[in-house]
Amino acid sequence: MSQKLLPLSRRRLLQGALAGAGIAAGGLPLAGAASAQQAPRRGGVLRVSVTQRVATLNPLRHINNPEYMASELLYSGLTMLGASMNAEPDLAERWEANAEATEFTFHLRRGVKFHHGPEVTAADAAATIMAVLDPKTASPGQKNIGPIKEAKAVDSHTLKVVLTGPFADLPVNMAHPNVRVAPAEILARDVRLLDNADHGCGPFKLVRFESDRALRVERYDGYHFPGRPYVDAVEQILYPDVAAETAAIINGETDIVLSGQPAEWDRIGKATGVVAARAQSGRFHNVVMRCDAPPFNDARVRRALALSLDREAIVQLVLEGLGRPAYDNPVSPEYRFAAATPPFKRDVAQAKRLLAQAGHPNGLKITLQCANRPTTRTALGVAMREMARPAGFDIDVQTIPYDTYIANVWRKANFYIGSFNTQATEDALYTLLFTSDAPWNDSQWNNKRFDELVYQGRRTIDPAKRKELYAGAQKLMTDELPYLIPFFEDLLSARRTYVQGHTLHPRGGVFFMDRVWLGDGAPKRA
């Protein structure tokens, strides 16, 4: 099920239209939602299982999917990310940019109220953006929401965002899960007040939050999209053990598995009463090779390694077939400006030759470090070790705890496996990981030409031209191979058959639980 790229007009891109909002509110047919075309029904309690803990309710600090889901339930952003990765209106009814795309003006919906009463104003939105940018907040989104210089309220419902340079994607970035509008007054007092309480204006309001067990929210009747949400309450239940999570949905204790695991997916699909859903995404594992240190400073070594891997087989072995081979281009077809990447076959002989040319005629011994979470990293490592062996690579796979990985390996080691979600835009992806000044630039590829293409791309408003620029960037990456990207993972989830309107968003961290309703056969729960 691949996403067709919608050609977007400049106007559509830069200005959110009321008409457009209407379409989005009705629910664009998103991946996996094809069957859900009956009239939505209200009522019922929806139970969603997750495997990671919601550590805080503060949306500015959210980092994993269960937390993003909590953000979505309790809060609203200026925009939301549509199924085709475009910005759709949320709190902002519409927006426009100046011609250079260095200043954006957002017009906020009127009459939207926080759960605790006060109306949502442009001042709140401005304060939220500034709080995300404030290093003291330590928001994961600090560097990801765009080159923002300043956000300020023009009047009670008009927000102006001034950028440090042209940036066409700002409306999309405003859908970032960390930019959920919180009351300015709370932010001014102490950001930490958001940690354990609900100060949002989202579709649901908080009933109970037990970080180690469950989160329960109930419908907020004042939600700004009339009619939604459909269910009375949503419970997010924590199952740290995947086997237990699977057992729970098969047993009918839960209705939705938020993110499934390849190993369990097969079993879930076979169970009666459960639908296993799957959607392609741009989520990938990247094998990081430091380009500024031997042996990977020699592009031939990187190429040799790339050639020695059988991508199709890796998808089978590591992902149980639930993914697509990628040929080292991080931009999956789901992105707006994705360019076609030519597949290539495993070529051990060529790999061996390249390795010899690079000065390793007797093979190359090297240690590959893999974090223990997610387990696919180690599996990929083991698979690489085995596949690259005939080409002369002797890869010693070292599995290390995730936290050690974060502390000692990530952005420090020579050769390791990273893992990233789909980003909202190419620009976000590139400037997060690959440009010389990217915060997480871990391969130190530092290609000036690439940086230039990306920088051009972000200030270019014309889609065709942009596409060209990004295609160039993608070509550069597959030519120079700063990373090996063996596959794109499919997003997996599962739901009981009576769950309607549930979709899998390619971005991964977007859930739209307010659009889910419970059909016939749903259990009655309090």
Partner: protein
């Protein structure tokens, strides 16, 4: 054949225990050379096969031969428990013997420290240590050894105290023997039996803790084939090929049962009350 060995073999659980340990020993020494396949070679088209003619115990998620992996993992799995226990026991016994023999304030201080270490439940203690040091086989061995030591120290000390009160020690003192002789020739051999018995039972426990650490991702790491790790890796796939869990599970159970039986029988064999 020494008397205790004869009694050990005559003991029904002792003979079974010895048999199981003999099997374990063979596996530890010759395991890799008995393996029909390379334990790391993929057979991508033969994934998750059940027991069959070619792959006797079936294959795992990469199509690797489970039997070969088991045989290769035997040595490190068995050695883990044995080495961790050996280190922990020697450390603990040395501390306990010295402390019990010295007595007085030294003994009091040493035992308070041992109590404090004992007050942290052992798996938690191991986890803490491995969390600090980082997950690896070496660190896991160290962590388990450290948790075994205080218990062994307590046992060695209490046996030392009881031996110290026996008249042959008084005889040595009355004779004017040196401390070294009294401690190492008179006391130690009598402490050793109890320590060895306790240690042989602890091996089973250490093996289980090792497996648990591997299960939690803090012990041996892929692509190693320690049995605990095999289970951890197989867990997501156990519904497709239950042998992936059953095989190494039985392996661990065999070793731990073996050491448990052996230890219990050894205790009986070395205990004159039951032996005669």
């Amino acid at each position: 054949m020494p008397d205790w060995l004869r009694r050990l073999l005559a003991h029904p659980s002792g003979s079974v225990g010895c048999l199981l340990l003999a099997v374990a020993l063979v596996l530890a020494v010759a395991g890799p050379s008995l393996a029909p396949f390379d334990p790391e070679t993929f057979h991508p088209r033969r994934r998750f096969e059940g027991p069959g003619l070619e792959f006797w115990l079936g294959t795992d998620q990469f199509g690797r031969d489970l039997l070969s992996r088991l045989l290769h993992g035997a040595r490190s799995t068995i050695l883990f428990g044995v080495i961790a226990t050996a280190i922990g026991t020697s450390l603990g016994a040395a501390v306990g013997l010295a402390s019990g023999y010295a007595g007085g304030l030294i003994d009091e201080a040493v035992m308070r420290i041992m109590d404090a270490l004992l007050a942290i439940p052992s798996l938690l203690f191991s986890l803490l240590i491995v969390t600090v040091l980082g997950g690896s086989t070496v660190n896991a061995v160290a962590a388990v050894a450290v948790t075994i030591a205080p218990g062994m120290a307590r046992i060695a000390r209490s046996v030392t105290l009881s031996v110290k009160s026996r008249d042959f020690v008084a005889a040595a003192v009355a004779r004017g023997e040196s401390h070294a002789f009294t401690m190492f020739r008179e006391v130690l051999p009598n402490v050793a039996a109890a320590v060895v018995v306790e240690a042989s039972i602890r091996v089973a426990f250490a093996t289980m803790v090792g497996a648990t650490l591997s299960y939690l991702g803090l012990g041996a790491q892929p692509p190693a084939s320690d049995w605990g790790l095999l289970i951890a890796e197989a867990r997501p796939h156990m519904l497709r090929n239950a042998w992936l869990v059953i095989g190494p599970g039985l392996g661990i159970a065999t070793i731990t049962i073996g050491f448990n039986l052996f230890g219990d029988a050894l205790r009986d064999a070395l205990n004159p009350r039951v032996g005669r």
